[in-house]
Amino acid sequence: MATLTSDIDCSRHTTREINQAIKLAAADGVPEIHLANPTARHCLAVAVMQPIDIVFDGPVGWFCGGMCDGARITVHGNCGWSVGENLMSGSISVHGNSGSSTAATIRGGRIFVAGDTGARAGISMKGGTLVVGGSVGYMSGFMMQRGTMIVCGDAADGIGDSMYEGTVYVGGEIASLGADCIEAELGDDDRELLARELGPQGIDSSAKDWKKLVAGRKLWNFSRHEYDAWRGAL
């Protein structure tokens, strides 16, 4: 890759070449880079630490946008597992469905999935925001420590299992709550947050019957009087 470019045909380059080109462009202040034919390849746009708009004209594979800090990624298609894992800041928008472990362990920034996610969306989140236009899969929000997950559609079994300080909002049906996950009262602050987050996506937050889910705190410190809560947790 001798010349700097703002357009890359992924089919003609190795993953390493693609990622190097993105990083060079970012370092050089190129505002936007387009990537054609990603064809669901793995590990694209990993650890891009500077602000740059990255647009994938097609589906990406696993770990897209992992460990980024400041980049803004758009995917016109599906993505695989672990999109944006450990995101520090910046944003990722997936105009399609995402695989399992969406937004795993993110610390900041914002991830938006227009469609549905696989299992364990928002697992181990430590900050940041995950917005899902569709539904989330099994065990989403597992061990969420901080941050906000907004699910416009339904949540499968085990939502919000073993959370610490994360907050989950679900607009559709909840199959079952996870361990130590309880419903809390929705306040005006919450409604404002939902409107603020969903408005830009063109979603009318007021049209949904939102449930706010937080930790019940029974699994925070062991208590022998809460055997039912601890049976599965230890």
Binding site: T15, R16, N19, Q20, H42, C43, V46, A47, M49, G61, W62, F63, G66, M67, C68, D69, W81, S82, E85, N86, M88, S101, A104, T105, R107, R120, I123, S124, K126, G127, M143, Q145, R146, S162, Y164, E165, L219, W220, N221, F222, R224, Y227, W230, A233, L234
Partner: protein
């Protein structure tokens, strides 16, 4: 009637029962009160088959020993170059194992880093991320990627010298970690993004990948994040070692770290420490064989840890085929763990120097395994670093001593041939002949013996007694 031992009811001899020992009785009654299992720190109480059960057979008449102090004995090795990354250079084949900032104080971490840099080896971060002062103190720092991802920062990954994906550790393979509320101080809680004072449970699986086929993609991600410039280690608690090692090789690991049952930990359930995993001795043998079977000897490097106490154990591990050893507990003890000072503080925890494994309480009397400022002040960094440096040098000298005695000018030229087994168990586990015999207590040896006996019987017309040889 004179008595040797007291009598009990109806005249029976008073003795403790093995199954229902005082320890077991107390354990049951404690669990009944607590309503859960118990935790402790450090390592197993078991006497395991160990490097202790091997001895060297140096040169005498049949081989020529090398002079100490005059004829050099090389100790250095480069590891992690399988995929073209800049390797870790160890001037002596020892590394400091991953121990978390959270489990350890910042002074302990700084002292370990300083000592490692002086000696020319690497240290490793732990479950809690990288401390700035750790990066400053340590010339070569391995960055752990753990299931919890507490404190994980990709910027730290990019300034590390290697990355270590931790699948598990020897003290509690297959499970996550536990840090009790007493040790989740304000500083630690913030670093781990947790509410202070919670009983922190770490997950047993990574959040973003599951099996070995997924691990391959995760390793690719870490290489992309670091532009392929640093080695990727995979650390495994010793269980199904041949399968796990082969899978790690196939997934693309540059270095494999195998941590045996004797491995240490800051806090773990008792039950797991003594009843999960296999001893480091056995794990070493299986790991070496697996890497050889994959034809990756010298390409994928092997580090073994778990109960490595000194240069003696290290030399034996090298002789069995490891490229290096990693020490955790031994390094802490060199720092001052279990030192015979502040005895009243040990007593307050219900223990005494020489028997303390109470890291999980956060009340470490010598300032190593604590976040209490007053206790940390008992571990000034310069002196602590000197002690660890001294211990590392002693380990190196011991390894060189054995190597020279066996006629080797490099510690990595030690081989199984230089060893004999002191017990049948050790012989069966390692394939090394039992002392005083020519026989290794392995199925292959028995099969060979039968074949030879039958061959002898068919030529001589009678069976000759003999021992199969290596």
């Amino acid at each position: 009637m004179s008595e040797f031992v007291p009598r009990g009811a109806d005249g029976h001899v008073l003795q403790k029962l093995w199954v229902w020992s005082p320890e077991t009785i107390q354990d049951i009654q404690t669990k009944a009160e607590l309503g859960r299992y118990t935790n402790r720190a450090l390592g197993t109480t078991r006497r395991t088959p160990h490097f202790e059960d091997l001895t060297f057979v140096p040169c005498t008449l049949s081989r020529v020993p090398l002079e100490g102090y005059r004829e050099t004995c090389r100790t250095d090795i480069e590891i992690g170059a399988r995929h073209g990354a800049k390797p870790i250079r160890l001037r002596t084949p020892i590394t400091i194992a991953g121990m978390s900032y959270g489990a350890l104080s910042r002074n302990a971490k700084a002292a370990l880093g300083t000592a490692a840099t002086r000696v020319g080896i690497s240290t490793t971060t732990g479950d809690g991320g990288m401390l700035d002062l750790e990066r400053e103190a340590s010339d070569q720092l391995v960055y752990q990627v753990l299931p919890s991802r507490y404190g994980f920062n990709p910027h730290h990954l990019r300034i590390a010298n290697a990355a270590e994906i931790v699948i598990g550790q020897g003290a509690k393979p297959g499970t996550g970690g536990v840090l009790l509320g007493a040790k989740v101080s304000e500083i630690i809680a913030e670093a781990r993004t947790l509410p202070p004072g919670v009983d922190q449970r770490s997950p047993c699986r990574h959040p973003d990948f599951v099996g070995p086929d997924d691990l391959q993609i995760k390793i690719e991600e870490l290489r992309e994040a670091t532009d392929g410039s640093i080695p990727i280690y995979v650390k495994i608690g010793a269980c199904r070692v041949p399968d796990d090692v082969k899978l790690a090789c196939k997934a693309g690991a540059d270095v494999i770290v195998i941590d045996g049952l004797e491995g240490g930990t800051g806090a773990s359930p008792d039950s797991l420490m003594d009843h999960t995993g296999i001893p480091t001795l056995a794990a070493t043998v299986e790991a070496v064989a697996a890497i050889r079977e994959m034809r990756l000897e010298g390409v994928v490097n092997l580090i073994v840890s778990g109960g490595i106490r000194n240069g003696i154990d290290a030399a034996k591990a090298l002789a069995l085929g490891a490229d290096a050893v990693s020490i955790g507990t031994a390094a802490m003890i060199a720092l001052n763990c279990n030192r015979n000072v502040h005895v009243e503080d040990y007593a307050r925890m219900g223990t005494e120097p020489g028997a303390c494994h109470h890291c999980h309480t956060g009340l470490c009397p010598v300032g190593i395994a604590t976040q209490d400022e007053d206790l940390i002040a008992r571990l000034p960094v310069p002196e602590a670093a000197d002690r660890v440096e001294g211990f590392l040098h002693s380990m190196t000298q011991e390894m060189q001593m054995f190597a020279r005695a066996c006629g080797k000018s490099a510690v990595h030229d030690l081989e199984p041939e230089d060893l004999r087994a002191m017990t049948i168990e050790a012989s069966a586990i390692t394939g090394i002949p039992l002392v005083g015999t020519n026989f290794a207590f392995r199925p292959e040896s028995f099969a060979q013996a039968v074949v030879e006996a039958m061959a002898a019987a068919s030529t001589n017309g009678h069976v000759t007694p003999h021992g199969a040889h290596h």
